[in-house]
Amino acid sequence: MVPSGDMKARLLAAVQAEAAPTRAERRRAAGGILALVVGALALQFFGVLFLLDKKGLHLQPQAIDFVVSHALGERPVAFVAMTSLAWCAVIAVLAGLVRRRDMLGPPSVALWTAALASLALPFAVGLVGNGIWPVTAVAKPTHPGFFCVHLSLALSTLPLTALVFVRRESDPVHPLALGATVGALAATVSALLVNLDCPYADPRHILIGHIAPGLAQIAAGALMGGLVIAMRRRGAPLPIAPVLGGALGSWLASLYNVGLQKSCDRPSGFEPQTIIWLVAGLLLGVGIGFAAGMLRARPRPT
């Protein structure tokens, strides 16, 4: 059984007409994007640490010893080191799964298990730490964790979007599971940074402020995986503009919420307007991205 004779000639002409990046070109592009994201994350993180306080944005950076003592709170350094190491270990495992050793990767069930366990394991390590240092387990009713929700979302949206973009149209087998793993990787990176910044470590705060946004990022990753990481029929439109627009909109809204929460009188209380900002940012971004995609796809008059 062989295909028709002229197919080879047609295909050779088609691939010559359509430029496709080589491995070296793709690696350079991916490296550049990821370097930009790491830089943006560092700016965001240190900006929140040094430039934001209850009075809003400060042009005078706060002193390092003040920032460190505020970030540690009542947590012993050993507790912070133990929980941070747990997050680092999970990040390493997830990065290996996303990078892959071969073309098809592990089965879906392994990817989903890794994505969900990535949040459960550091939480369990935190519980062990609560048992060793009981002062860390004391709940602070004034700080249920909403500030950390916004900080987690603000810190994880850029890496999630960048990783999904880098892996676009690359998975023919399980794009949803790979997207969920990418979401978990972005969530754990942000959870590590939030863990360094957040002085509260009681289980309820961790669940609301550090784990729940991770679950949201896993779900968002799976959705973006199905839309962007999946291989699709040639000619089928890749909804990259709405996805990028939505990610950018929700990222800006999260950043605004971080500032809003930190500068208002009740720094960690539930503020309904922050949810409205988040949803509005997401929808506005998706809408602008969709419109931009439509305009770009519209045939131009000759």
Binding site: M1, S4, E18, A20, M231, R233
Partner: protein, 187 residues
């Protein structure tokens, strides 16, 4: 050409060696076409999907990791495109035997060969009746010669999962075709 040589050609192509595409086409096209023909049971659709599979291989060459087997990756892409196409079109199943014979370009045959062709046709009919997951596992292991680990990777499941699917497919086929083999020969 061996699979190893195919893998090396794919690695060269991923690094920008354009003439390697012809080598990849020569090695992969008959196997992918046979696989797609079993999926679609329509020669024209199989050709269309084959073309799309090669274009997707071209577009994704930057993702290829040297040292990885190229055949399971190509089969996975072909399978994904076939699933997408069937979801879109919901095309009715055509007569697969006709499509296969047409693609093979066979002439009218003597009785013994005709009987073998009828048996082959019956086998294809029964294969098409299997659930997609079982059919794919069976085709990849028995007909494409993939290892269970490679077939599991293509299908996105575990090795034990793919073994179970292939075993169930084998049992179903044996049940369905058993009467043909058990039929007493004419005196």
């Amino acid at each position: 050409m061996s699979n190893e040589a195919l893998d090396q050609a794919m690695a060269r192509y991923a690094d920008g060696d354009e003439p390697a595409f012809a080598t990849i086409y020569d090695e992969l096209s008959p196997r992918l076409y046979a696989f797609l023909l079993k999926q679609t049971r329509d020669a024209a659709r199989a050709e269309d999907l084959l073309q799309q599979t090669f274009l997707q291989l071209h577009r994704s060459r930057g993702h290829f990791k040297p040292g990885s087997p190229a055949l399971p990756w190509a089969l996975a892409i072909a399978r994904r495109l076939a699933i997408d196409a069937s979801r879109r079109a919901r095309f009715a199943s055509h007569d697969g035997e006709e499509a296969i014979a047409e693609a093979a370009g066979l002439e009218p045959l003597p009785d013994a060969v005709l009987s073998a062709r009828q048996l082959h046709g019956r086998f294809q009919e029964e294969l098409a009746k299997l659930p997609e997951s079982q059919r794919n596992a069976f085709v990849m292991i028995r007909e494409e010669g993939l290892s269970t680990a490679e077939a599991a990777a293509v299908l996105g499941t575990t090795v034990s999962g793919v073994k179970l699917r292939a075993h169930r497919a084998y049992q179903s086929l044996r049940r369905a075709l058993g009467e043909v083999f058990d039929r007493p020969e004419k005196e």
